[in-house]
């Protein structure tokens, strides 16, 4: 038996899968297209619901993965199914023979400029959730004013939106908006902060407490209405239009900073790879699991597995749990094959 397991993608899903496979005595190889591991988590400043610095979550992997083969700036050129194994050709010309392949290719953040009515890339003070995490890390972004008196968050940007081609809910952006709103309020205590939402989806442990804190301790305003359009005022501020659907009246507000909660969408570029091994893709563009209850981390093809957000929006703890489950699936698959 060849114990080499290919892991495509070195985000937290791929890293955790590799760690577990190693512990199970197998031989994982991570292929990551960018120049470092960590995926999206490496870009975030700190994580809900405990404000844990991302750095702290990722650091232990340095040690855990020190004996794992990691190929950075490498992509998959082709995968072919042999009788039992998979033959994988990499972009550096190397060929690997692997017993199983775990897809941990993650997600793409919705490109906010596609929702032109929100003015990203057009107006001076419109940024995304990702830009704000970067600002928390670097404190430098000329779009963020020194003393904002009013800040807005737009939920569901590119999610739950038929016209943007994404009907799914991104799951993490309601709680991310609350986290970021609290962080901004701590930074700018004199500013008024508004969250424009359609539904608040706060399903996880401690999320509802986070929401209560945001209301009670930080005085963040929650307005139930989707932002319909944004324009720039003569003095360079942004004006937002929505309906306060609970009051039943249109509302307008002028802001110094507007944060768009870009959604989690599928990584389209990986669909060709999926097709090449006859791995099915769902209507939403994410990879399709064998079923959505007990075999989420398995594809309907022998030897192909999934971990993390390549099958749909997920939080970090969910992603990590799936990575462990995928590693166990691989282990059992190989045991059964002997």
């Amino acid at each position: 038996m060849n114990n080499k397991i290919l892991i495509v993608g070195g985000g937290i899903a791929g890293m955790e899968t590799a760690r577990q496979l190693k512990a199970l005595g197998l031989n994982p190889v991570i292929v990551e297209k960018s120049s470092s591991l960590g995926g999206h988590v490496a870009q975030w400043h700190c994580l809900f619901p405990d404000m844990t610095p991302s750095r702290k979550v990722l650091e232990p992997y340095d040690e855990a993965l020190k004996d794992v083969e990691i190929l950075l700036e490498t992509e998959i050129s082709s995968i072919n199914r042999l009788q039992k194994d998979y033959s994988v050709v990499l972009s550096n010309g190397r060929t690997l023979n692997c017993s199983a392949v775990v897809f941990a290719t993650g997600f793409r953040l919705f490109e906010a400029e596609r929702k032109e009515e929100y003015g990203y890339g057009i107006y001076d003070h419109v940024i995304t959730n990702k830009d704000l995490e970067a600002w928390f890390n670097t404190r430098s972004d000329e779009r963020v004013p020194a003393k904002p008196s009013a800040i807005g968050f737009v939920h569901c940007v590119g999610s739950r939106d038929l016209k943007a081609g994404n009907t799914q809910c991104s799951k993490v952006c309601c709680i991310t908006a609350i986290k970021q709103a609290i962080e901004l309020k701590e930074q700018f205590p004199n500013s008024e902060i508004y969250c424009f939402y359609m539904d608040l989806r706060l399903f996880g442990k401690k999320y509802e407490d986070f929401y209560i804190n945001a209301q009670r301790d930080f005085g963040i305003h929650f307005i139930r209405g989707r932002v319909s359009e944004v324009c720039e005022t003569i003095d360079g501020r942004v004006q937002v239009k929505a309906e306060d659907t609970l009051v039943g009246k249109p509302v307008k507000v002028k802001l110094d900073l507007l944060v768009l909660m870009s959604g989690i969408v599928c990584n389209k570029e990986n669909q060709a790879l999926a097709h090449s091994v006859q791995m099915p893709v769902d209507d939403d563009g994410f990879f399709r699991s064998k079923d959505n209850i007990i075999s989420i981390t398995e594809a309907d093809r022998a030897g192909l597995f999934y971990a993390g957000t390549c099958t749909g929006p997920k939080t970090v703890p969910e992603t990590v749990a799936e990575a462990r489950s995928a590693a166990l699936n691989v282990y059992n698959y190989l045991k059964g094959r002997k």
Partner: protein, 112 residues
């Protein structure tokens, strides 16, 4: 004899005694009407809403709750400009919904 007081009828919506036949007729012609998530984009972007209370969101809800009178009053304020259709995240053809409801009030069913 007038004692200076009367009974105020209850304004509660009795769901089990509801007549939402008009909404069901609308949905046969415009099935998308059922997918409204009451986000309010249509109302926020409508030029008439701030002055007249025109709101596709309210119209759809009122129809579902059998409040047909409220809807009839509201319809007269729409200018059929179609801005609401441009912003609806569910892709509902709200302008056509309005036209369809008008036709239904006039008892003309079928293709528009």
């Amino acid at each position: 004899m007038d004692f200076g007081f009367g009974l105020t009828p209850s304004s509660a919506i009795e769901l089990d005694a509801l007549d939402n036949g008009l909404f069901e007729k609308l949905c046969r012609i415009e099935p998308g009407a059922r997918t409204c998530i009451a986000c309010g984009c249509c109302t926020a972007t409508c030029t008439a809403s701030g002055y007249s209370g025109m709101s596709v969101r309210k119209l759809l809800l009122d129809l579902q709750r059998g409040r047909n009178q409220e809807v009839e009053q509201m319809l007269s304020h729409c200018m059929l400009c179609g801005k609401c259709t441009m912003v609806c995240p569910r892709g509902i053809n709200t302008r056509r919904v309005i036209l369809t409801v008008c036709r239904l009030y006039d008892n003309v069913e079928g293709e528009l």
